[in-house]
């Protein structure tokens, strides 16, 4: 099975986000990017499938941030057979632009399966995985938490809510949005990532920066005031405990 995994760089959720001067976007000057957590799961699921049924895993990234190369090399160190970076210095792109670039590259690849993370934190104009599926006219199932290979097809488990899941059989080629891999994403030693960096495993592909096509324009961005909603309790743990017991009593509890 030849699998493609789409890797996206998103702002590091650990960082405190700051806004740019006219408050229309994040201040991207010092922003650190990391691999979208769900894409990491998508990669893990792909590697597991490869271990089960053989084939290749190719990771694709977009040249939207400096950190993308490192993400791609890490994937290679984990066991991906090849990595492609589409473009460089593209800056942040909306989901439609990303999907457009991915679709171009995927058409060349002859993949049986395309995996991407179920969502990314900056996908204002839709989920890239689904837009890619629409662009390639391939069937798509999202919020997948497990895959089981079957002849020429795949059984996937989709998660609803309250722990309810549903199984679907999907004919390949197809696109899946991964919520969680069957097991936690594996660890790969930094030394192996550095070795991958020294090898020739990254293919750089030139692309023209796409024209925005989402039909959306962000006019203002705000970071909601922390504790806006809550009445904050002052004092140390003893004062807090006293107050909380009061609140509980008022609510008829405790």
């Amino acid at each position: 099975m030849n699998i493609a995994v789409l890797l996206r760089a998103v702002p590091d959720p650990v960082e405190e986000l700051e806004l740019n001067e006219d408050e229309t976007d994040l201040d991207r000057d010092y922003l650190g990017y990391v691999l979208n957590e769900f894409d990491d799961h998508a990669l893990e699921e792909a590697l597991l499938l490869k271990e089960e049924v053989g084939g290749t895993v190719t990771v694709l990234g977009l040249g939207t941030a400096d950190e993308v190369d490192q993400m791609l090399y890490t994937a290679v160190a984990k066991g991906a057979d090849g990595a492609e970076r589409l473009g460089s210095d593209l800056g942040p792109l909306d989901a439609h632009s990303q999907a457009g670039l991915f679709v171009e590259a995927l058409r060349q690849g002859g993949y049986d399966l395309v995996l991407s993370g179920v969502q990314a934190s900056d996908e204002l104009d839709g989920q890239v995985g689904m837009l890619v599926a629409a662009g390639l006219d391939l069937p798509h199932v999202s919020v997948v938490v497990a895959t089981t290979p079957a002849d020429g097809a795949l059984r996937v488990t989709k998660e609803y809510w309250g722990g309810i899941t549903a199984d679907y059989d999907i004919r390949l080629p197809a696109v899946l949005g991964i919520q969680a891999a069957r097991q936690a994403p594996r660890y790969v030693a930094v030394a192996r990532i550095r070795q991958a960096q020294e090898s020739d495993s990254l293919t750089e592909i030139d692309v023209d920066p796409p024209a925005p096509s989402s039909g959306l324009r962000v006019t203002a961005v705000r970071i909601p005031e922390a504790g806006e909603g809550a009445a904050m309790i002052e004092g140390d743990e003893e004062a807090a405990a006293d107050r909380i017991v009061e609140i509980l009593a008022a609510a008829g509890v405790g």
């Binding site: 590091d12 650990v14 660890y187 930094v190 030394a191 550095r194």
Partner: protein, 700 residues
């Protein structure tokens, strides 16, 4: 004594093969040759096994003289075990003297008498013989008494000599072979010793009680006891005993390399080649494509020697904090398992069979197979095992090499994995952005220099916990205040500082360690400073030993504060009461700094009450080696809790538990809560004590 001096020694001497006859001599010499050949065969097999190991530079005159001194004094065995030390001293020297005694006879009789054919050069008679007899008897008695004392200790079945495994349930392994080997060794030595004295006694009786033999006090005593049986019976007894004693001795010679007796050679060698402090400076990765140990030939010859050296004394097993807390790690068993592995790989099978369990040896991997991953991850790298080992085994370095292999395989504990990922991303293990490193400064009423922008005399390298953990940040603020008040010209690296990498390296992630080191050196390179002071003993270790920096310029903050107090720049006042001090592993065992912290505590006016396990025998808090990032829910009792209980046992009047390491601060603050002793014992850093003392002085 005067009577002895008056002995007529002119005719002193004895016939070696008295009454044995030519046939007997032939049999004896043949048997001796055979025994010696067997010995060399076994010995060669061992040497060949060690030769499979990687080279390591441990040959030096300094080590030789240090090793010989240790062996001669037996001080490593006597350390914290005076009774065993003295007993083994006599066993050791008794054996040596008896061995030399036998060699003297062989030289005199066979080399000079027969081989060189110069009977006139023979010396084993007269005054020499008398002196010889006295010395041998005295040491022989010491030898036997020593053995009896050790046998008595063993018979009391102390916990450390219990070979129960900590990583497998009863019934899945069988170590009776080890116990059998122990008992056979002890029995043979005792047998040889006792039969030797019996033989001497029979001979003295059979040769008519020659006067000069009075110096052979034990033999003379036996002779007196057996004289009622008459000369003939004594002579027969003598002949029988001669053969029995001879056979036992020759059998023993052949037996040495196939049993615990080999420790006599291996352990002496190990004490010469050992470097107990080696774990402070871990070796670089040999083959970048395959870091860590995968097969027998990856181990150094010193490590292979280590595996054979262990006499199962159990001291490392006793002191190990991981073992004490219920982890599946026993340093002793680690070494023994690797011995069994090395023997199996080298085609050596020992007669006593150790019942090695299939899962261990059948595994194709050493790291994670022969030695379980849980076992390897349990180590805190505290070096208590190395410090306690009387024979120079270096457990920690081997564990790290095996961890390197686990990391390469991706077999990394989940907590550790997320710590590594956080470290790779933000240079800290807290999952925080690198930019937040210097946040702790907020609230100080003075500015702290940025060493990247302004020159300062000292760079204060903080360490992760001192910058990010709220419990340790309190201490950092106090230290900053003390430095400021003491007039220290210092600055910090702000966001340029990364985790020093000490524990990352010890957790086996060498690539990440190199990355952190590179970044730190880059940030430091941009700065202008002469000295480095650190509040973190772990950082102290790696900065001194594993970064390319001048170790003399790197100090612990207690040294700086000590100097400030000594020179009057800081004047702590009069606190009253008693405190106990916990020696951090990386300041004590790793850096040999025990006194400055104690001076500081006394300078505040407090009295220092020592815990039983103090100074180089300090008991680890359990955080080192990456353990602080790992899950400890499976532990029966956390090491820190064990330690708090030890402190509480010192008595109600000891109110302070003093630490000098941020991780200790974190671990013990938690432990004192979970053990319920929060109101009884206050966990406080030396800096906080000093500050409190200064404030008391002001008030006073």
């Amino acid at each position: 004594m005067i009577a002895l001096l008056a002995l007529d020694v002119a005719d002193a001497g004895r016939e070696t093969f008295l009454g044995i006859g030519t046939a007997g001599k032939v049999i004896f010499y043949s048997a001796a040759l055979f025994a010696i050949l067997l010995f060399f065969f076994g010995f060669w097999r061992r040497i060949r096994k060690y030769s499979h190991g990687r080279p390591i530079d441990r040959l030096s005159l300094h080590r030789l003289s240090r090793g010989v001194a240790a062996i001669a004094s037996q001080r490593t065995i006597a350390k914290r075990n005076p009774v065993v030390g003295v007993a083994h001293f006599f066993v050791f020297w008794g054996f040596i003297v008896l061995l030399i005694g036998t060699a003297i006879i062989a030289i005199d009789e066979d080399v000079i008498g027969i081989f060189l054919g110069k009977p006139q050069w023979q010396f084993w008679h007269g005054a020499f013989y008398v002196g010889y007899s006295l010395v041998l008897d005295v040491f022989g008695i010491g030898f036997i008494i020593g053995l009896l004392v050790l046998a008595r200790i063993r018979s009391r079945q102390p916990a450390r000599l219990d070979y129960e495994r900590v990583d497998r349930p009863d019934g899945t392994y069988d170590r009776r072979g080890y116990s059998l080997d122990d008992r056979v060794f002890l029995a043979i030595l005792l047998f040889i010793g006792v039969s030797g004295f019996l033989l001497e006694g029979f001979r003295i009786g059979a040769t008519g009680f020659p006067d000069f033999e009075r110096v052979s006090i034990a033999g003379w005593f036996v002779a007196v006891m057996t004289s009622p049986f008459g000369e003939t019976i004594n002579n027969t007894a003598r002949l029988v005993t001669w053969w029995i004693h001879g056979a036992a001795a020759l059998a023993f010679v052949a037996y040495i390399p196939f049993s615990k007796a080999m420790h006599m050679v291996d352990d002496a060698a190990d004490l010469v080649f050992t470097e107990p402090g080696a774990a402070a400076t871990l070796p670089d990765v040999v083959d970048a494509a395959s870091p860590g140990y995968r097969s027998l030939t990856d181990f150094t010859w010193k490590e292979l020697l280590d595996f054979d050296t262990c006499t199962k004394c159990g001291r490392c097993h006793e002191v190990c904090p991981a073992r004490a807390s219920g982890s599946p790690l026993s340093p002793r068993d680690l070494i023994l398992d690797l011995r069994e592995y090395a023997d199996a790989e080298s085609g050596i099978k020992l007669w006593y069979g150790t019942g090695a369990t299939p899962t261990g040896l059948d595994a194709t991997e050493v790291a994670g197979g022969v030695i379980g991953a849980d076992t390897l991850w349990a180590c805190t790298t505290c070096m208590a095992c190395i410090e306690a080992c009387p024979v120079g085994i270096e457990h920690v370095g081997t564990i790290v090499q095996l961890r390197r292999r686990l990391v390469d395989l991706g077999d990394v504990e989940p907590g550790l994995q997320s710590a590594f990922q956080s470290l790779a991303r933000g240079g800290n293990s807290f999952g925080k952005s690198a930019k937040q490193r210097a946040r702790w400064i907020k609230g100080l009423d003075f500015t702290v220099k940025d060493v990247r922008k302004e020159p300062a005399e000292y760079l204060w390298f903080m360490g992760d916990h001192a910058s990010f953990d709220p419990r340790a940040i309190d201490v950092s603020r106090v230290v900053a205040q003390l430095f400021h008040d003491g007039g220290l010209d210092y600055g910090i690296l702000y966001e340029g500082e990364q985790n020093s990498g000490n524990d990352v390296r010890r957790a086996g992630e060498e690539g990440l360690f190199e990355l952190l080191r590179e970044k730190n050196l880059e940030a430091m390179g941009a700065g202008d400073f002469a000295m480095i002071v650190t509040t973190d003993p772990h950082s102290l270790n790696t900065l001194r030993n594993e970064y390319s920096l001048d170790p003399e310029t790197i100090v612990h903050y207690t040294a700086v504060l000590d100097a400030m107090v000594a020179s009057g720049k800081l004047i702590p006042g009069g606190l009253e009461g008693k405190a106990t001090y916990h020696d951090p592993c990386y300041l004590g065992r790793y850096a040999s700094e025990y006194d400055a912290p104690r001076r500081l505590i006394r300078a505040t006016g407090l009295e220092v009450v020592e815990m039983g396990r103090c100074r180089e025998n300090s008991f680890c808090c359990g955080a080192g080696g990456g353990r602080i990032w790992m899950d400890d829910t499976a532990l029966e009792e956390r090491p820190a809790e064990n330690r708090i209980r030890e402190a509480v046992d010192l008595g109600d009047d000891v109110r302070f538990f003093v630490v000098a390491c941020p991780k200790d601060m974190v671990m013990y603050t938690d432990a004192v809560k979970t053990t319920g002793y929060e109101d009884r014992l206050e966990v406080v850093d030396i800096a906080q004590l000093l500050e409190r003392a200064r404030q008391e002085a002001v008030v006073a």
